[in-house]
Symmetry: none
Subunit: 207 residues, 4 copies
């Protein structure tokens, strides 16, 4: 989110950010997000929990949302990405299951909903989110689909980006809006039905 001080050769003593404070702040943010949720997270609360002055937070993060984004990213890598690669459909299903797992972690959906709300009022944050976070999540899925195309399972003219929109969109839609369950049955049917629309029509894709 923010780089450590460059001890570059420009000779200036520059800033000496306390790594201890940095870690304490991010950790406190994660804990409070889990314990109380996004809405109840306050800078004062983070500062108190981290044993840090408020100014130290304001010095390094431009907004609460930026802090939460960093804490969120730092904590979301705990669920390991699947690496199966057996069939396109199996890969897609595994990736959907992984996405669901990430989003239903304690820190997952609730925080994401809060962030989504702040993106609408914070252009800079929105840019960073759409540049760093969104593509990172899409990439693995896109790669799986491209492998499917190379194997001939997926039509050459299929719009794979659009397919990721539909796959991920359906997951987020249930998570954030409809409240419908995010279970294995859902991901299984979602994967097969969307892949049907991408299939070359000759090679069967089913599971």
């Amino acid at each position: 989110m923010r780089e450590l001080p460059d001890t570059g050769d420009d000779g200036a003593p520059t800033r000496r950010r306390s790594e201890r404070s940095h870690r304490a702040i991010v950790t406190a943010t994660q804990e409070l997000l889990v314990e109380r949720g996004y809405r109840a997270l306050t800078i004062e609360g983070v500062a108190a929990r981290a044993g840090v002055g408020k100014q130290t937070i304001y010095r390094w993060w431009p907004s609460r949302a930026a802090l939460v984004l960093e804490a969120y990213l730092a904590g979301s890598d705990e669920v390991v990405r699947p690496r199966t690669r057996t069939s396109t459909c199996a890969d897609v299903r595994a990736l959907l299951d992984w996405l669901v797992a990430v989003l239903t972690q304690p820190i997952g959906g609730r925080v994401l909903a809060g962030l989504v709300s702040d993106l609408k009022d914070d252009t800079e944050l929105a840019e960073r989110f759409q540049r760093d976070v969104v593509p990172a999540r899409r990439q693995a899925m896109l790669a799986a689909l491209e492998r499917g195309r190379e194997r001939g399972e997926i039509r050459a003219d299929a719009d794979l980006e659009l397919a990721v929109d539909a796959l991920h969109g359906a997951v987020f839609y249930r998570l954030l809006l409809s409240g419908a369950p995010l279970d294995a049955a859902f991901t299984k049917r979602l994967a097969s039905q969307v892949l049907l629309g991408l299939s070359s029509g000759f090679v069967p894709i089913g599971d």
Copy 2:
């Protein structure tokens, strides 16, 4: 949103809710949402704009989010729903375009993002949202797909609810998360690609 007191024979009859204040509050909320957005909306601001005491708002709405939901719904019917019914694909496209139009209204996406964030902390509101708002939006799309199935354009065993998840999900995903454009090209390709996955394989769909 909130019913008038039941004129049942149990309670004493007393002064009723002022419809004038009710309207003024909802209107003020809509105006302030357009002018300043969800984040900057305060109960005090609404009360001042509406020329109303704060208590009058707290008396009838349990939370800011509930008020916003009512204002949102009261103002979202301005875009008229399409009634085409020429072909399944055309219908789906028209409904997607309608959804996009509704969501890109001045009051649309920004407010929705805010609401979505509050749903995570307000169970009662979430229930109402998922009972009243979500199905209302899905229904027309579902009906269009069912007509397609009756005509034989769509497989009998296709999961239509899932298809709506994918269609609407893709739209909301772009609106709230990826920031990708919501244009006519998008809705066109989305409709045809998803419908391909639902097609019976014999009757061609799409244009």
Copy 3:
């Protein structure tokens, strides 16, 4: 405080005040004064306790202070005035003890302090208080002193009104300001010392 409807000969149908409500209001006021004190007394609280609409209170009393004054007076006659008349000094002491008893009743000092505070902002109430309440309390003391003068125990040119100011003033001063105890030793010494200043110098006073 407020007269009942005069069924005068002016022919007007006039008002028909509910005596039941009147009593309920005064009683509720007294109870709440004892339970919570002057500061915590609210019109809404009285109305709720009395099972009465707020308007019924506002219709008959111009202010909270006026209501409290009525409730105070209605409840302060429970301590019976002494009628001794043995000696001037004994009479004065008895009357001081009576005053102290009245003021240390549960409803006494705390309410008086509150009223005193409101007199400064409510001219009409102040007038009524100084016309009805104050002289009623002074009268018995003044009569006792006048009897002393007639007997020759008190100088003919002594300022008896001033003496009452000093006697009562000392009591209220301890009650409201200094917090010093209002016990029998105090009243005894106060009576004899003040009476010394009034004595004719020939006839001994005091015990």
Copy 4:
């Protein structure tokens, strides 16, 4: 009223109380007391007039009454205490005139009445008032009477504290309760009549 944080060696060194804000708050309180009186004084009003956040007031004063007490004391020293010392009676009269002058200042009686009312509901404030304010006012009078006793004008066994109760009590009684005038004639007769009760009977005290 409130001490600055102890610069003991236990606590961390940090930002101290702003003397600028302190003064602004006290001054604003005094002005508003004069302009509108005790009843109309609100914390919000003081904060607005002083250009200060409400929290800054709540941080340093536990109640409105405590703030008023400080403002009252800070402003009551404008009338200089007399230092005559000619005769006991003249001294007493001068001190009574001084007390009357202090209490009839614009900020005087109205504020005192309000404070008196709050003392009944605020034990801590009452203690401070009775420890700091009351004795300060009594002391000069007591000293004058003691000088009189040393000179032989006042009986050795006279209760001087009680005499101050009577002298001051009469003044406050007129101010707060009876509304009778506080003029020079009053103080003159009060002084001489009370002193008569204290006199040794041999040395004349009159003026």
